[in-house]
Symmetry: C3
Subunit: 343 residues, 3 copies
């Protein structure tokens, strides 16, 4: 619970109404009850305010809400996220190395870290202050993990990989599995050893069951602040810039370099050995098969400007009809030609 | 082993032949041996019966199979499944909490449940009668699991989520990972805490390495009887109705509501914040980008009636040829126009 | 470290230069330093040799590189892989059954195998010589694992499945999860027991978080030497021939049979109950919806020859323009027809 004024200070906003109001929790506008704070990030939901039972609302400057206590700020959605963090995210307890965790003798685990039962931590691993390993996490030898990281159950970090500070791995993430590299050898394949590593920089988050493969040589690197959703594939030697968003089931093939502040929609993909610039947004199921210049919104396979893709895909269902019509036109054309030849 | 009459009773069918015949196991029609029972669910396989060496066959009424013992029933495929369950699925032994499992003191595990080594069960968890946790399952705090559930190795259920009765999780399923929600904050992103839960109702089954994300606020809910295949993504705040089928590698984006008795084919998807009605069937790799009304069979991206999609995609390879032909027609048209202007 | 001559012998190549040269490690051409060996597998990179600081280079016969020590051989890429294996892949230590692993009494684990903490090995399992189980691997009852296998952390092999020799499972692979089979029963579904197994033959490798489902009856089989990438779905009763390559996020639906030496690109798929011949290459996101004859390179959904697909997809963005143009042509055609009718 917190006073409305404290919440306003947290989000650099101003109270309009009672600063001493007690707020218990955050709720969506249509479910909020007394004691709740809600938010309106999108003007189209403003009309719902008159039926809303929340005690307070986060709004942008200029919104009228007679009889309601308000926090007025520039970015209500961000403010909502910050207030939710304060009110409803429990502190992680510091429990140290718990019974049932196996830690190699040469590992260096900070005393403010927490390692749950069923975790296995290899030789020469370092784990920073305030980092939590939930049950069943496996850290291979020679891994370095920074401060304030959160590795959920069953996540795996293979040998030699490095995680910065505040990295979050959702359950069952795999970091540093072998890249998919084979040299043809007669009819079969010879495995190319993958002796590189993966580096996840500060504030990277990776979703459940996603994989980031280790480099063949050198490193696969995800830069600071990039967020990756569930079931995403990042192949060996890929580099992804700062503050990118990769939505679920997308995949980046080997050695492709992606700039900063890019977004890949769900099930989107990039082929291997490409360069994608900065601020590129690729729509759901879009597929990059060539290099992509910066500052574009693209969709489709092959990629095209998103609006063009919308038109092209809307036209696609008409294709059979177009073929039929073309045949008819061709016939009429032939009739005209015949007629003119006669004359 | 069971007598033919007992099997017929099980499936509400009738014996034609020897009710005392001993049946050992179920086998496909082309591999069955003496002592086996097989089935013909599809009339096109009836011709194979004459070479079949099975001791008995499950058929629909009206099928002739001279010299063979039969179970005659309405739904041979369902009967096959029920008989297979009886004859060949071993009972799960009740082993209690085995050595090597870590159970929090405040957890309430029914005495008829089985918890294998390497499992970790958190505070205030309840686990119902006859439920089995295979090795390495991790249950976070405050989870409720019903009766007769089967959680295979390495599956994870995060804090506060609820599973009904007879829920099956294949290996490495993740329930309750954080939804993928971030508020833009300058060039970067601020993590929106995901404080909701996941509810899996009775008789839900989830396939290997699939993920169901917890809600931001409120709940992600899979209704009774829905079956989800491997590597499927269910995002935060999704609701899926009763008796749906989601085939492998499909994905449902955040806040989308799907009705009952829908099917999503392999690699199919629905974008976020949509409403899909009841009895909708979306073909493999189909993609819903808008709301979908009930009782339709659709394919493609964008979705269109399945038959139209078949025609459109069959026409697609002709597109380059069509363009060429159009250019020729245009030229001929111009020639005709020129000719007519002269006259 | 090894002498250049020894490396040449390893790869059946010849030294041009100093056979006594000491080589420490392998490096890419643009990062190599003194003591490194690099390789040129693709002639387009030959020009980079003049700025390369490597001590030695692996090349094909006929390449000139004045002042550099060479290994001359037919297949520099394969040679690079073999030399990398020799120089930089550490031997796996034999550690036996480590403290913190649970092994059923009836299991037969070879004394030269290694089982890390957190592994659980079921009843009647056999594990061959030199096989390593990394932390948290779960082997259900009655599994047979051959010699020299490498099962990475968190991989799971369910009851009765069989792995040949030198099989590699990357982290979190699931072998033998239930196939996705349900018999309609009124509005709902009855689970068809999946009582078959999975067989992975010698030298198969499976990538992180991929799944191979057990057969309903009989077996799902991956033949010798086939390599499967991350997040790939292999459904029940599938058979994949020798020396195939399945790239990340591809999926093969139930009962489909694939020949030998086939390649499926990223996110490609095959529908169920199909037969695909030998030496078929299906491009990224291609989708087989019908049987495929041998010796073809195909792409698209539906599949078509790869070159045709390239042309069709390049034409797709022009589709809206084509429709517009067709309407104009139709109008002009009508005008001509009207004109001719008058005359």
């Amino acid at each position: 619970m917190a006073k409305l004024q404290r919440l306003a200070d947290l989000v650099e906003g101003e109270v309009s109404g009672n600063p001493e109001l007690d707020i218990d929790r955050v709720a969506p506008i249509d479910q909020a009850q007394e004691g709740d704070i809600t938010f309106v990030a999108n003007p189209k939901y403003l009309a719902q305010l008159k039926d809303c039972r929340a005690s307070a609302v986060i709004v942008v400057p200029g919104v009228e809400a007679p009889g309601m206590d308000l926090i007025v700020c520039k970015n209500p959605y961000l403010a909502f996220a910050k207030i939710l963090t304060l009110l409803q995210v429990p502190q992680r307890p510091v429990k140290g190395i718990m019974s049932g965790a196996w830690i190699a003798e040469s590992a260096d685990v900070d005393e403010s870290a927490t390692v749950y039962p069923g975790c296995v931590v290899g030789e020469r691993v370092t784990i920073g202050a305030g980092t939590t390993l939930y049950p069943g996490v496996v850290i291979y030898d020679d891994v370095k993990i920074g401060e304030g990281c959160l590795l959920h159950a069953k996540s795996v970090v293979r040998e030699g990989c490095r995680l910065g500070d505040r990295v979050i791995l959702q359950p069952a993430v795999v970091i540093g599995s072998d890249g998919f590299g084979f040299a043809p050898d007669g009819d079969g394949y010879y495995k190319i050893p993958q002796v590189g590593i993966v580096v996840l920089e500060d504030d990277v988050e990776i979703g459940s069951n996603s994989c980031v493969d280790r480099a063949a040589l050198g490193e696969t690197r995800i830069h600071r602040g990039t967020k990756i959703d569930n079931l995403v594939q990042i192949a060996h030697n890929v580099e992804i810039g700062e503050d990118c968003i990769l939505v679920s089931q997308s995949g980046i093939a080997g050695s492709t370099k992606i700039g900063k502040h890019c977004t890949f929609g769900g099930q989107a993909a990039a082929a291997g050995h490409l360069t994608v610039g900065d601020n590129v947004m690729i729509g759901g199921r879009g597929g990059a098969t060539n290099d992509v210049a910066s500052n574009q919104v693209l969709s489709g396979l092959p990629l095209m400007p998103h609006k063009q893709w919308l038109r092209a895909t809307m036209a696609l269902p008409k294709l059979p009809e177009m073929r039929k019509e073309m045949k008819q036109m061709k016939k009429r054309l032939e009739e005209l030609e015949a007629l003119l030849q006669e004359t």
